[in-house]
Structure formats: C-alpha cells, structure tokens
Symmetry: C2
Subunit: 388 residues, 2 copies
C-alpha cells in the first residue's frame, strides 16, 4: 500500500512540475494574436494560453510584459529585440501593456481598446466556444456611431447603435431594442469592439436563435453640470445617466430608428458597473422596460451583506408576485473565476430574490473572471431569450 | 544710407533670432491637445505650434519625441518624468510617436489613428480655419461601420458610410453618393476619424452650403487572391479595387441605402494614392460617375514628365470637348507646402488638361503639406460644389 501511495505522490509531483504548474516548459506553437494590427507578428499566443510579446528597444535596461496584474521580465537578444512570455492566461480578451524602463506604454503590435480608463493594448486568448462570436459569412448588421447633444449634461455625447441585418432592406419592419451598458473605466465603444456584440447578434440571428433587434450602447458616465464652486471644492458630481437615458436617448432612438416603442419590446442590460446602473434604471422604470440582464454585477455592489427587500432600492423588490407578472425576464450571469466581492455580492442579491419568490435566470460562465469573455457569453445567453 | 542698412540688418537678425527662427524661446501657453485621451494632460500644443510631450520613464536612458520626421530629445526631471518640445509644426493633424531607449511606441496620452501603416498617436495643431471641421450643435449625420464579404477577394472587408442628418427621419428621401478614398498606408477609418469628413459635411449641410449626401469610405487595398506559387515567388498581387468598388460595393450601397443610383448623383474622390486610384476609376467608368475630386494626387504620380494625352491612361483625356460635356466637375487640390514630386506631378497633369481644353477647378490649401488639413480643406471645397 505504501508503495502505491509513493507512486501516486511521484506521479502527482511530476504532473505539478511538468503540466499543471505555471513553471511548466513553454510550448513553441505561438501564433500572432487575432487582435494584432494587420501584418504585425507580435504579440503571440500559444496552446498553453501564454502570451509572448516582443519589441525592439536596443538601448533599454529592462522591458516587461504587464498582463493580468503581473509584470514578466523580457529578454534582450543580440539585435536589441526584447521577448518574453506570460504565465497561463484565462481564455478570452485581456487588456495588457508593455513597460520599458518604467514607462507603461501600448504595445505597437496590438490593436487598441478602451478599458481600464485608457486606450491601450488588448489580446485574445482563443476559447473553446469562440465560434459564437467569430466573424462568419452570414448577413451582418451595421454598427452606427451617433453623436448627440445632451441638454441635461450640456455637452456632446456619443452612442453606438447596432441595427440587425435586413434593417435597411426591409424598410417597413420595426424592431425591439436592447439598451446595453459597459462597465467602470470603459466606454460606449466596448460592446461593439472587444465585446463583439454585433458579431454575437449576427450569428444568433442568422441561426434563428435570436429575434432580430436593435442594440443601443451609450456611455454610462453622465454627470450633472457642476457650479465652479462645486468644482473647486472637488465635490463628487451627481450621475444623471438614468435621466439622460430615459428622457434623451430613448426618445432619440425611437425617433430615428424603426423601433417598437413599448415596454414589451425594450430590454436593458449591463456589465459590472453597468449591471448596477441598469438594475436601478429597470426597477425605477418598469413602464419602460420588461427585460433585464445583469452581467457580473447587482445593485448592492460592493456589499456582500444579506439584503432586506423591504428597504433595498426603496423596497422595489418587496412584492415578488407583482414583479413576476410585470417582468418578462430577470437574468443574472457571473464568471466562475470572478474575484471578491462579486460572487458573494451577487449571491446576497440572489438570496434576496429567492426569499421574495422572484423568478430569475442564472448563468455561470465557466473558467472566466471579471472579463469580456464572461460578458460575451452572458450577452449570447441573454439575447437568446429576449423578445420571445 | 549705410547707417539705415545697418539698422535694417540688425532688426532682421533680431527677428530671425527671436521670432522667425526655430531657435526662438518657448512660449509657455501650452494646452492639452484636442486629440488627447479623456483627461490626459499631455501631449500639449502652444501658440507657436510647438508640441510638448511628457511621459514617466524613471529608468530610461533617453526619451525622444518623434514628429514630422525629426526626433527631439526630452529632459528627465527628479521624479523620472521626461518632457520635451518640438520645433514649430504646420497647422493641422500630424502622426507622431515617442521613442524610449530605441523603442518606437504610441504616446499613452493621445488617441490613436491609422496612418503611416500603423495605429499610433496623432496630434492636432489648431488652425485658423478649424471652425469648418469643429463639432458644433447642428444636426449630425451618422457614421456606419459596414462589414461585407467580397467574393472577388474571398475575404471580409469593411467600409464606413456617412448618412446625413435627417436620413433616418425622412424615410422617403433619396440621396446622392460620394465615394471617398484614403491614401497610402491609411485605411477606411481615416476619413471619418482624423479626416473629420462627417463633421465637415454636418457643418456644410447645416449652413445649406452643401447638398445632403451619403459618403462611402472603403479600403483602397484590394488584391486578387494569389496562388500559393505566386505567394512563394513573392509576386506583387494585382489590385482589383476598381472591380470591387464597381461590381460589389456600389450595388451593395444602392441596395442598402436610399441612394439616387445614377451617374448624375454619384461622385468619386480620393487623397494621394486614393486620388490616383479614383482618377483611373472615374475615367474608366464615366457611365457611373459624373463628379471627380483629386486631393494631392493625380494618375501620373510619381512622374513629373509632360503628359501626352494621346497615350496617357489609354487616351482617356484625348477628346476634351466630349469630356467637358460628360463630366460635371473635375476638381483638383494641393497644399502649398507639399513636397516633391506632388507639385510638379500635379502640375504636369494640369498642363495636359489645359492643352486639351478640359475644364477643371483647382484649389490650393495655404501653408499645408501632404497631410490631413490639406485633405479636410479639399473635401470642404469639393463637397460644396457637388450635386448642384
């Protein structure tokens, strides 16, 4: 028996050393990332889901690849080209940067995305299920950049609008609308760029799994103009995103596009901060929306405390049976690798829903954290169920 | 007399030393560039049209600002922040980058633009006449991203489409179309980003100076698929942009949008390489287009030799009086500071037009080179005259 145990231990320790640990050997099957600029060879990704970056910096002292909160030292060759690899990354899309002698800069090889509060590099680690957001030879919808002036904010804003394939050819058809929001330190560009919302819907609609719909992606940062006095005192500006969305954006969209302008044909969803925001907007405007999607976030964030339905959001969740009649779909999603406080915070919210007898759908994205593959999957699962 | 001359010489030399020369003192009225990422303080521009860049790179040996083909050394302060200024720049938009110990990278402070064959930093030097491309509180058209599959190229391509304000509200109105092309090492994003084509048309249309029109901005790089043998031999691929535009893009646009689908309501224009391409397409397809605009380029590029109308472009310019009847507008534009061979090359072409008695409009953009302010001004002047 002792002998068998010894063998098991030896086998396990070999596994840890060779295959399971981050210290494993690097497999030399790197390919250029699909998020690279045209014809750029680096960064690359291998079958282990490592990232390899490379940059010419002949006079640098130290160059690092900065991804997933870890900085990896790169090595300099005789030509002054630095190359280095990360440990194993999760499947999906990650923001990253290079660090050259202390300067954090975008990688000149990658395309650029807005996230983490800046335009910077992004990389795609192939995922098992990526087929659902791939660019395929199916009819494609259009993504429209719409600049508008907000009287409430007294400045220009921008939203992007997805119109499904056929919108321009079927000039009589009217469509339901999903209002879809980004997360914190992101903006209105995220969902149709790294979020692949347009391709996800193109594929769903082409395979007749989703109802053709319009998607509106606005910027969730919308603040009431401040007096100079308030600015000087550095007072926190008041968010008026709900007011902007309800009184400016929705009327503009209904005037400009062939929407079906009623609550039965209007959904609202968001990720992280956007889930929090849109949950509040949903509950304050049940005459406007009948479908809700919360991806990696709920309105109790960042609290993980048990919720009291009689007081939480002014008691909006008190009457479960009334909500069950009113709301057509209340949908929540989360990645299995999300960090604190998301699992417990969303968990506390779910417990409250269950205590109130409120029906909801819950989806878990396997092996993803608080990142875009979680949200792409959430959109896919959620859009599937809308307007049916 | 000698005394007066001496004074004149002293005054002139003072002028050269203090105000006229590049060695003049730096005026400390720098402001963040309008092309910066939200809330980023650098890069900045001053009233002299100098660029000041700044980046934290505490362990770097040498950091440079690389703009207009010149690298300017930056200075390191006690906190490891490097700052430096360029000499005087032309008004308008310029691509630039930073160089950190030999690594050429985008500036993390700027927005990014596709040009010079890469996504990278751009900066805007205020111009006297910038009012014509500013974002104003006028009705705004939309910019639409359209993904399509080209059978001729056997791959996905993308074009951007500008629809004028009112297109979505006036559901019966039909519009003329301008096909507008970018230059070499640029792509389909240029005209509606650094080119400001949408804002230029918004402003022109709002002030009733231009006829409301649709603009289609495609990618001018379109090559016939090559055999593996040809690829191995590194044969130059054959451009089939004309065929893609005429047989795929125009029918797609006419099917999808409410165009007036005839030659009287179709214009074609381009900048630099795009001027060369679209001039050939215009002359090969006079049944398709009746307006032509060539910005900083003609089809004889890079030659500056005199042109023989009986042989140039297969004699397409031979019959001047027939062309004068057929073409509604033949328009050429050039910046006064354009480098060789543009002035002489365009000049040789104009001489040929004049010899053939072909009517054309000619515009010179004051104090600009082969850059986007030249092309924005050209679009403004050209669009003004279209479809009238």
């Amino acid at each position: 028996m002792k002998r068998y145990l010894d063998i098991v231990i030896i086998v396990l320790s070999l596994c840890f050393q060779s295959g399971w640990s981050q210290e494993t050997q690097i497999v030399e099957d790197f390919k250029p990332s699909t998020m690279n600029q045209s014809e750029k060879q680096f960064p690359q990704v291998n079958s282990q889901r490592r990232v390899r970056a490379s940059i010419a910096a002949p006079n640098a002292n130290k160059v690092q690849l900065d991804i997933g909160g870890v900085k990896y030292d790169m090595r300099k060759d005789a030509n002054g080209v630095w190359t280095g690899e990360s440990n194993l990354q999760d499947e999906g899309f990650h923001y990253y940067q290079l660090n050259i002698d202390g300067a954090s800069v975008p990688d000149p090889g990658s395309l650029y995305f807005y996230g983490a509060g800046r335009w910077g590099s992004g990389i795609e680690i192939p995922s098992r299920d990526q087929e659902f957001f791939e660019l395929k030879n199916v009819p494609h919808g259009l993504v429209i950049e719409n600049i508008y002036f907000s009287k409430l904010i007294n400045s220009f804003r921008r939203c992007f609008i997805y119109t499904p394939a056929g919108y321009y050819e079927n000039t009589k058809a009217r469509y339901p609308v999903l209002y879809l929001q980004h997360g914190s330190f992101e903006d209105e560009t995220g969902w149709s760029s790294q979020g692949k919302a347009n391709l996800i819907l193109d594929n769903l609609i082409a395979s007749k799994k989703a109802t053709p719909m319009i998607i509106v992606m606005d910027n969730g940062y919308a603040f009431k103009p401040q007096s100079n006095e308030a600015k000087e005192k550095k007072e926190r500006p008041e968010s008026i995103f709900e007011e902007v969305l309800i009184t400016e954006v929705i009327p503009m969209i209904d005037a400009k596009f062939r929407t079906i302008a009623n609550r039965e044909n209007r959904a609202i969803a968001g990720l992280s901060m956007g889930a929090n925001q849109t949950m509040r907007i949903m509950m304050n405007n049940l005459e406007t929306f009948s479908y809700y999607g919360g991806f990696s976030g709920t309105a109790n964030y960042p609290s993980t405390d048990p919720l009291d339905a009689s007081t939480f959001l002014d008691g909006k969740y008190k009457d479960g049976s009334a909500l069950n009649k009113k709301i057509k779909l209340f949908w929540l999603g989360l990645g299995t690798k999300e960090p604190a406080p998301f699992p417990k915070s969303v968990g506390a919210f779910r417990t409250m829903l269950e205590q109130q007898g409120i029906k909801y759908d819950y989806y878990e994205s396997p092996e993803t954290a608080h990142e875009w593959l979680t949200w792409r999957r959430c959109l896919y699962q959620f859009a599937f169920k809308l307007f049916k």
